[in-house]
């Protein structure tokens, strides 16, 4: 009987204390949630470039930046050229690690510029010593949309970190409406489809976006070099995804070549940057190396790009 008495005392005491504590927590929580007191928070990411000097010699720390190609859209295995290049390097005996893949579907040069302002991206850049960049395809092939209706590009540019212009890899009927694949916003997709006249990719349309986009590309590479001067930057050149559509073969090739030349001009001014060409890989082999969305490479296509990258890095 004495035992039961002590159990009762213990249980009642503990539960009374626990109840008081929990009620106090409850009152505090309700007050805190209903009237949150904001405070100025300091503290930012470490600014020092820690890794590159230390381990630059033997270990490759790879960071990928850019659009859906960097992300690997279209590759059924999900690897993309980034992971494939990593595998290739490792098989070749190099010590390589992937720091991160910051590729975002539908990213344009303008989008990448805003992204490079983010502290987290800058931090990742500072840790890397190999930076793979793929950008520009969305600027170039969206050119027709810029002419057609200005809203599409404005929305894309206005979108900051909160809303990222998206592309639509599984876009409907990609062969019929090439821009439908590239076009990020579903609303612009809707508004542009009823007016097929505007969807034609003319050489002028493709080239119209070029000067400004090329200027932004220059700024992007400049920024990367500023953030991490030690890193080797590999820019993946563009290919023409519309080479199998007769009307688009020549203008597409011209536009892509113009872009690649512009990129080459910029890259040649930096000592630690390399352009990895892909134009020749895909020209006349689109049926083999493009995925079903008719814009992104498939696994084999990515494999070929990655082989080029491995050759460039080693």
């Amino acid at each position: 009987m004495k035992d039961a008495k002590w159990t009762w005392r213990g249980v009642s005491l503990i539960s009374a204390l626990a109840t008081l504590l929990l009620i106090a927590g409850f009152v505090y929580a309700v007050g805190d949630i209903i009237n949150p007191q904001g405070e100025a928070l300091t503290g930012s990411l470490p600014q020092a470039t820690t890794a590159p000097e230390a381990a630059a010699a033997d270990e490759l720390k790879i960071l990928a930046l850019g659009d859906s190609l960097a992300k690997g859209t279209g590759d059924n295995s999900g690897s993309g050229f980034v992971r494939r290049a990593l595998d290739g390097l490792t098989q070749g005996g190099a010590k390589a690690g992937l720091l991160g893949n910051m590729g975002i579907n539908g990213l344009t040069t303008a989008g990448l510029q805003t992204k490079l302002q983010e502290e987290g991206v800058q931090y990742a850049l500072r840790q890397a010593n190999v930076v793979l960049v793929s950008i520009g395809g969305n600027d170039l092939f969206r050119g027709s949309d810029i002419l057609g209706n200005g809203t599409g590009v404005q929305a894309g540019e206005a979108a900051g970190t909160a809303e990222i212009p998206a592309d639509n890899p599984e876009g409907s009927a990609s062969t019929v409406q090439p821009t439908g694949v590239l076009d990020g916003k579903s609303d612009t997709l809707v508004t542009s489809t009823p007016k097929p006249g505007e969807d034609e990719l003319t050489p002028e349309a493709l080239l119209s976006a070029l000067p400004e986009a090329a200027k932004r590309l220059g700024e992007i590479l400049e920024t990367i070099a500023e953030i991490n001067p030690q890193a080797q930057v590999y820019y993946v050149g563009l290919y023409n995804p519309f080479g199998d559509i007769e009307d688009l073969l020549v203008p597409g090739n011209q536009a892509v070549t113009a872009w690649n030349n512009a990129a080459m001009d910029i890259i040649n001014t930096h000592s630690n940057m390399t352009l990895v060409p892909t134009f020749d890989l895909f020209n006349r082999h689109l049926d083999k190396y493009l995925s079903s969305d008719h814009f992104h490479p498939n696994g084999d296509g990515y494999q070929r790009i990655s082989e080029r990258i491995v050759q460039a890095i080693r």
């Binding site: 539960s15 626990a18 929990l22 904001g38 930012s44 991160g100 987290g120």
Partner: protein, 329 residues
């Protein structure tokens, strides 16, 4: 006027003697190590992938979520959930605070966040569903009511004992998950800052109210909210156990309600009247963490009001029925 205290003591002794509470402790002792192990594997994997640099990992998570925003197949509500999530991660990253700093305290915090709407209510039910219906199943209710004690006092003593055990259960969930996860992640971490005060309006997060709280304070606030949820669940389970004759039926009724709640929170965004159901409002800790409410228009005062109304109604019905009803067999 018989004193209530001996009655409460009697009810407490009954609960202890029935060993329900030990069963609850046993469940915790079995399940928490499992969750800890799973969490440990997750931590190990991310350590391999990101060279144990949490900043890179957070940045990758942000990128991955941004990518998923572009898919047309993802429902709009999930997208806005992810947009909010991205902004919060970005906030943590910008202020150089690791939201998932591995420690026993962090594990406890996350475990509680995940268990508030189903697991803890289930444990509460294990005690509450049995209180009155159990007496009827075994027939001891007649013995109880033939004593010269008013019926409301009998019921009140049961209720008081139940509330005591609610506090004990919440406390033991805390203590056990901290002690066990501490073995794997270390017992430190009470002073890690956690951000709270994210105010959500639609897709955007208002950061003006955000402030950092040491983790122990956060746990205290969580505990308070969980306690409130548990009390309401206890009251409802208590009512059901008064209304229903057998313990099994009373457990099934409450289980069905809770599981319906967890299903509804996942898909009820279109049916906005569902927000008046108690089981949709159980996730109070979400308001603390800044996760969007399952249905638009739900806020902490709203959820508290809904839960209070349900709880009060449960008390009134329990007492009204118990004092009036004939006990036949």
């Amino acid at each position: 006027m018989t004193n209530l205290l001996p009655l409460i003591r009697n009810e407490c002794t009954k609960i202890i003697k029935k060993k329900r509470f030990y069963v609850i402790l046993l469940i915790l002792l079995v399940l928490v190590p499992m969750f800890t192990y799973a969490q440990m594997r997750v931590a190990e994997r991310s350590r391999d992938k990101f060279n144990s640099d949490w900043r890179l990992e957070i940045q990758q998570r942000i990128t991955d979520n941004q990518n998923s925003l572009s898919s047309d197949r993802i429902p709009e509500e999930w997208k806005s959930y992810r947009r909010i999530f991205i902004q919060q991660l970005q906030y943590y990253l910008d202020h150089d605070v690791n939201p998932n700093e591995p420690s026993g305290v962090t594990f406890t915090r996350e475990f509680l966040d995940n268990s508030v709407s189903l697991f803890i209510p289930l444990l509460i039910m294990a005690v509450a569903s049995d209180l009155v219906s159990g007496e009827r199943t075994t027939g001891t209710i007649k013995m109880l009511l033939t004593r010269p004690v008013k019926r409301w006092k009998v019921l009140f003593s049961k209720l008081a004992a139940l509330l005591m055990f609610v506090s004990l259960i919440v406390l033991s969930v805390f203590v056990i998950s901290y002690l066990i996860s501490g073995l794997a992640f270390g017992y430190k971490g009470f002073n890690i800052p956690v951000f709270t005060g994210f105010q959500l309006s639609g897709d955007t997060v208002d950061m003006s109210g955000v402030h950092s709280v040491p983790q122990w304070k956060y746990l205290l606030m969580q505990g308070g909210l969980i306690w409130f949820v548990s009390v309401v669940v206890a009251l409802l389970a208590f009512m059901v156990s008064v209304l229903v004759r057998s313990t099994a039926a009373s457990i099934v009724v409450m289980m069905a309600a809770l599981i319906a709640g967890s299903i509804l929170t996942n898909m009820a965004a279109a049916w906005s009247t569902a927000k008046y159901l108690f089981m949709v409002n159980l996730g109070l800790t979400g308001y603390l963490a800044g996760t969007p409410a399952p249905i638009e228009g739900m806020t902490l005062p709203f959820s508290l009001a809904v839960l209070s109304v349900w709880g009060l109604a449960a008390i009134i019905i329990s007492f009204a029925v118990f004092t009036k009803r004939d006990i036949l067999n």
